[in-house]
Subunit: 290 residues, 2 copies
Amino acid sequence: MSLLDRIADCATFDPTAYRPWRIDGKVYGLTAHAFADALAAFQDVFDVDAGEVRLATSLTTSEARTKAVAGVLETLRDHGLVPGWRGEHYPVSRSFHAEPVLTIERAAVSRMGSKGYGVHLNGYVRKNGGIHMWVGKRSMRKPTGPGKLDQMVAGGQPIGISVHDNLIKECAEEAGMPVELATTARPVGTVSYLTERPDGLRHDVLFNYDIELPHDFEPTPTDGEVDAFYLWPIEEIIERMREADDFKFNAALVIIDFAVRHAVIGPDDPEYIGITEGMHMGRAGDLAMF
Amino acid sequence: MSLLDRIADCATFDPTAYRPWRIDGKVYGLTAHAFADALAAFQDVFDVDAGEVRLATSLTTSEARTKAVAGVLETLRDHGLVPGWRGEHYPVSRSFHAEPVLTIERAAVSRMGSKGYGVHLNGYVRKNGGIHMWVGKRSMRKPTGPGKLDQMVAGGQPIGISVHDNLIKECAEEAGMPVELATTARPVGTVSYLTERPDGLRHDVLFNYDIELPHDFEPTPTDGEVDAFYLWPIEEIIERMREADDFKFNAALVIIDFAVRHAVIGPDDPEYIGITEGMHMGRAGDLAMF
């Protein structure tokens, strides 16, 4: 067993199982064949053939596209094809800073295979010369990764809020962290992946932050999304991840990146290069294959 | 001008300009067509056609391969085809921890297009609430990147010495750093690239280290490889790299990685995802394309 197994969990994508979703000729998503076939019934909105899914060219504005696609997705939800409906809209765009060409329900992002973004926070404490990390256990009621271990704070990146402000908000909601403390978190990079999960295709970039916490701070579950928090030595967390997948697939990637940056893993580990090169198994250029 | 230009400098590889170099059927390097044609004259050692370069199957041991290839490379050196001869042997293998299948002269690594490895150290000082980084100016006599700006300490990774021990040795040779101080350096990850340079193909993984230096330490050029050291605010270094390429191509990548990890650049930079995903423009899997 190996940390490379955790990286492989973030790269299970098989291009032959998907059709590109194009808008104005450009790829914005990847839909599994069965879902593409379901979209084909809505000919006013989607133009589907065996090779691809095209948004109807009659839909030219972001507003019109958003409204038409929402109607389709609500119908498919009522047929059980979009589980985990959230009632939150996520942007569809070719890059994070680009203007979205429409927005779609969050639960449909993994069905339409459009890019997703999130913010993840490594909360850690230095003691006895070592690093201990706060880990959250996700509620069994979460639609994705129920009961899995996760970062202390982690959330999807919705539209209309900066990454930094979203982090501060999530820190309060998920861990009861006061704003003054949360603003000491520092951005430290990203991880990216393109992988098939039980809940659909995940093609995400996560913005990673680190925060060194004082010994007297203890995170408190406040919004019911986390059942409990644990403070574990980072070495034990890494050993646990070598043996099992009880961390959420993307949380594992974020922790491995932390372990590399904090010298918990070094060049004497025979997997070191595979691990460090595995932090971006999905990249912006991936859609160019279609 | 943009940091993405520095990343593009690390990804100029055009696969149509190269032929794979195979040993026992597996790719170990990529040779430019002109160099492959030069190797074709040595039929006892290389079996060359328009599609690939194969090491002669009669050469079955590492010792025999090393000796035969060395003879060819020395002849080509005498014809001016292997500039910058060092008299140092570098391993040829499919991965860093694998047993090498032969060793070749260091200057020939970029001609045969085999994987290279190096160790680079970010030496920095905290003052006035900011980070200042030590930068070296390479000697005009260096065979690669003469006169370019570089990490305080950087060196190729030869055979027979661990990455850590090589770093300590380079710290003493290049910057006059005592062992006790050098051992406080910490591994922080890798960068990887596959790119064409004036001196040939570079397909390297660099092991990056950070060291926070005391204010009273000043690096001293001791082996003639560095002409001078400068201590500059990291923000100024990053601004300089946005405008010009006066840093060595791979040193720029290492500094950008440092700037990301130390929150000098954050998610509000529109290039952030491109930058963070650009730290491994070459990967172990690249040879699979041939």
